[in-house]
């Protein structure tokens, strides 16, 4: 016992190093548990508060660009409005819009209060949380395209796993032909991502649009992801496609969190059928 104590005392520097390093590395590699850890939930509220303050300054400096982007988005949306269309079928006007359609997606506006693009595992925080109806696994989009997936939620803030994180893969498809594959970021350029699993026989053109496939229960179908810049044959019979992302993550301010009102029903059915 005395020898053990003497050993610990004389080697306390190395032992302490191993202890601290083990704690730190456990934190690094236990990504899912930390989201629920109370310590980080508290820190999310505190750092969320501070980030909101500093972000309001940065946001002020980019007001002009944000305005132009929102204006453009408004133009597109106004053109999509039901009242912008004239019916070509005589009796179609008699059918009430609400009767034929039921709302599936609800968009919750939020602001980005902290983000990074320069790491391998980037994260993003939003200024809306569970009191605003945000839950984990909801999709986040910007006016121009896909942003990421909500991972953690506190009362007033939420964290997002953005596309610029090597852990996130998004099921995407080619808008023209409908062939789908898996899109991920390779950790290098914050404006580019890679689409894989597209069979070799599919004809590709640079400039083709890539949109979400709607095959996961997270993203609705048809949300813009980016455009093809170039492509090459990867190992096997698949293309490796470089995609220029539609969302500019370096100046992202306003985003929408998408609430799928039918998500529970869908997941319940899939669970009952033994998916997962």
């Amino acid at each position: 016992m005395r020898n053990l104590l003497r050993f610990i005392l004389s080697n306390h520097f190395v032992l302490l190093f191993i202890l601290f390093e083990t704690i730190a590395l456990i934190l690094v590699f236990q990504k899912n548990n930390y989201q629920n850890a109370i310590a980080f939930n508290i820190s999310r509220n505190i750092s969320g508060y501070i980030n909101t303050k500093t972000h309001s300054l940065r946001e002020y400096l980019s007001l002009r660009e944000a305005n132009i982007a929102l204006h453009e988005e408004n133009r597109v949306l106004r053109n999509e409005l039901f009242s912008s269309y004239k019916s070509q079928v005589p009796l179609a006007e008699d059918i009430e819009f609400e009767e034929a359609w039921e709302r599936r997606y609800n968009y919750i506006p939020a602001r980005v209060i902290s983000t990074s693009v320069n790491k391998q595992n980037n994260f993003m925080s939003l200024d809306k949380g569970s009191v605003h109806g945000i839950e984990p696994d909801m999709a986040v989009v910007s006016g121009s395209g896909v942003v990421g997936v909500v991972t953690g939620v506190s009362d007033n803030f939420s964290t997002v796993l953005p596309l610029l994180n090597i852990d996130l893969r998004i099921s995407s498809k080619l808008k023209d032909t409908g062939y789908f594959g898996s899109l991920y970021w390779d950790g290098r350029d914050p404006t580019k991502a890679t689409l894989t699993d597209i069979p070799h026989h599919v004809t590709l053109n640079s400039g083709d649009s890539v949109v979400t496939s709607g095959l996961s229960a997270i993203f609705p179908e048809g949300i813009m992801v980016g455009t093809i810049t170039d492509f090459e044959i990867a190992g096997g019979n698949f293309w490796s496609v470089n995609v220029s992302l539609a969302t500019d993550f370096r100046k992202l301010n306003h985003v929408y969190v998408i609430q799928d009102l039918f998500r529970d029903e869908l997941l319940e059915l899939e669970r009952a059928e033994g998916y997962d």
Binding site: F13, L16, F20, E21, A24, L27, F40, N118, D189, P190
Partner: protein
Amino acid sequence: MIKILLRNILRIIILVLLQVFILNNVQFSGFVNPYFYVLFILLLPFETPGWLLLGLGFVLGLSIDLFANTPGLHASATVFMAFIRPAVLGYFAPRDGYVPGTFPRIYYYGFSWFFQYSAILILAHHFFLFYIEVFRLSDFFHTFTRVILSAAFTLLLVLISQYFIYRK
């Protein structure tokens, strides 16, 4: 003694805030991210006991992690850097040891000594940090370039700070 304690507490707060709110937003072409906060470990007094050194490294790294949403990443790299600091100090020690009452700064031990001492520690920290973050060897040279460029930029900031802020 109290003066040194207060000065270091103030320094850790300023460096964390500077890192989190300004330097974490700096990025040149996805390669260069300076991690200037390591200056705190570099400037600790020679007499700092080992357990305190490691503990401070852990606390410093963890407070950066809290804001950057990277639990444990900076903590592990900073603890590693704190761990090798005594060895590096021993390697670069003058023939008759470090004079009591002096600090590891350019002012006391000259530019060349400080440059070598901080370059080795910053490189060690950045290597550990970037490779743990990527955690694969497939992009070895890409990560290597990131380490070298970021370390050079951090070192530049550290050296400049010696002439501007910590002028005795």
